[in-house]
Amino acid sequence: MIELIRVFKRFGSLQVLNGVSLTFRKGENTVILGKSGTGKSVLLKHVVRILEPDSGTVLADGRDISQFSDSELMEYRKTLGFLFQGAALYDSLSVFENVAFPLRRHLKLTETQITDRVTEALSWVSLPDAGSKMPSELSGGMRKRVGLARSLILNPAVMLYDEPTTGLDPITSNEISDLILKLQKQFGTTGLIVTHDMPCAFKVADRAVLLSEGNLLYDGEITGLEKSVDPLVHHFYQTSVAKRPEQLS
């Protein structure tokens, strides 16, 4: 379980997180919604301690992650997978080596075992033959899928997805959403999903939270967004969903 307790974060004059308290429960997919620039990605980066709060606490299974030693932090991070918005593939490595990278760093496996694991992970993301390609040869959607294969190669307990379907065509978006669900159902993976893609959100979410200007506006079932009496929540729902009902079918 991951908890954020009154987390504040400011960049210059911009207050990005304004005392956010949230709990991400084990095995649950939580969708984090909100306008651009409301601190969603910043929130994810606090969970993996790429960023540290100005004040407030992030707890992982009850332990304050800011108190972790270097080795404890590394062990903690091994339990996490992070799909970056732009995939963040290593330019100098082939697709195969990108996906194999965490295995080579953290596990003592034979070359055959590595090949088997990488091939399996690439099959999961429907790119079984892309191993020899370089990241520069891939389309945006392919890059994202390779990034996903790399982030799930160590079977993480918690997956953090930063806009997993942004910039993808509807069919690929749907495949990625299916994959997020599959990971949750098959391995019990906890999912923290930042997205603007409401069809994806409705498909994968057990729960939704809505951020606005660094504040938590809504925390509950995603279907509850529609019924909320809060005018800001209602407005968000109307603009992001109600105008595009055909995408939800």
């Binding site: 980066k45 993996v48 790429i50 270097d70 590394m74 062990e75 991070r77 091994k78 996490l80 992070f82 970056f84 918005q85 732009g86 963040a88 593939l89 290593y90 330019d91 990278f101 965490p102 760093r105 953290h106 790399r150």
Partner: protein, 252 residues
């Protein structure tokens, strides 16, 4: 006044912390030998052609310039020694350092800067890999290791270039040239020249890595990091040269 000075002090403090992190990682964490070998290849092997051409040109030019000057005093026989001494003590180290700074500091700045803005450095950290220890430490150490080797290589080529320069003016065998060139060369000429290049190598690796690793501001930031890295590294090398010459005069 304070407003103008504070960014400098912030930068200086940040660079100091970067240096501290480098020393802590170097002595307390597992050294990334594979990355070191790769960077040694990039910095060392990759600079051979550039350093070689620069060394050759400098040797030829020095030879022609000194020859004209020495001829006025009838001291042409001292030409090989003058070339070798100037090259080994000063010209070789500084030319090597400036040429490598131009190629490598900007390259490191751009590469790490690009990795920063595309979140590749964050991806390393999230993959439980210490990005600083993985990316920065091997680059700085490779700079320290490569510069002395490149300088020795540059010295040889420049002295060879000096021979070509002499041949333009008069006839002398290579054996005669070499024996005259090394006649006045001692360890106290070679060691200060080569040892100070470890400082130049550190400056190149450190400045390139610092600018790249701390890049902000997208692709514009990457360009700035590369430019700042080469400008600052070249400037610091020249300043360090002045200090190191003073120190070497005291000790050698």
């Amino acid at each position: 006044m304070t407003g103008n000075l504070s960014p400098f002090f912030i930068w200086f403090g940040d660079a100091f912390l970067f240096l501290r992190d480098f020393l802590v990682s170097l002595f307390r964490k597992k050294f990334e030998w594979k990355q070191f070998a790769r960077q040694l290849d990039v910095i060392g092997t990759g600079s051979l052609l550039l350093v070689g051409i620069s060394g050759l040109a400098i040797g030829v030019v020095l030879s022609m310039q000194f020859n004209a000057t020495l001829a006025r005093f009838g001291a042409e026989s001292l030409l090989p020694s003058m070339i070798s001494l100037s090259v080994i003590r000063e010209i070789g180290p500084i030319i090597t350092a400036l040429v490598v700074a131009g190629r490598v500091a900007s390259g490191i700045g751009a590469e790490l800067g690009s990795m920063r803005v595309t979140e590749q450095i964050d991806a390393l950290d999230v993959s439980a890999v210490d990005s600083f220890n993985f990316l920065v430490v091997p680059r700085i150490v490779a700079g320290i290791a490569a510069l002395p080797l490149l300088t020795i290589y540059c010295d040889f080529i420049a002295i060879g270039g000096g021979y070509i320069g002499i041949l333009i003016e008069r006839t002398i065998t290579f054996q005669e040239y070499i024996s005259a060139a090394i006649r006045f060369i001692g360890p106290d000429d070679i060691f200060p020249g080569v040892l100070k290049t470890t400082v130049f190598g550190f400056i190149i690796g450190f400045v390139g890595s610092y600018n790249g690793y701390k890049t902000t501001g997208g692709t514009v930031g990457v360009g700035l990091s590369a430019t700042n890295a080469v400008v600052l590294a070249s400037l610091l090398i020249i300043v360090a040269e002045v200090l190191l010459v003073k120190i070497s005069i005291l000790f050698f």
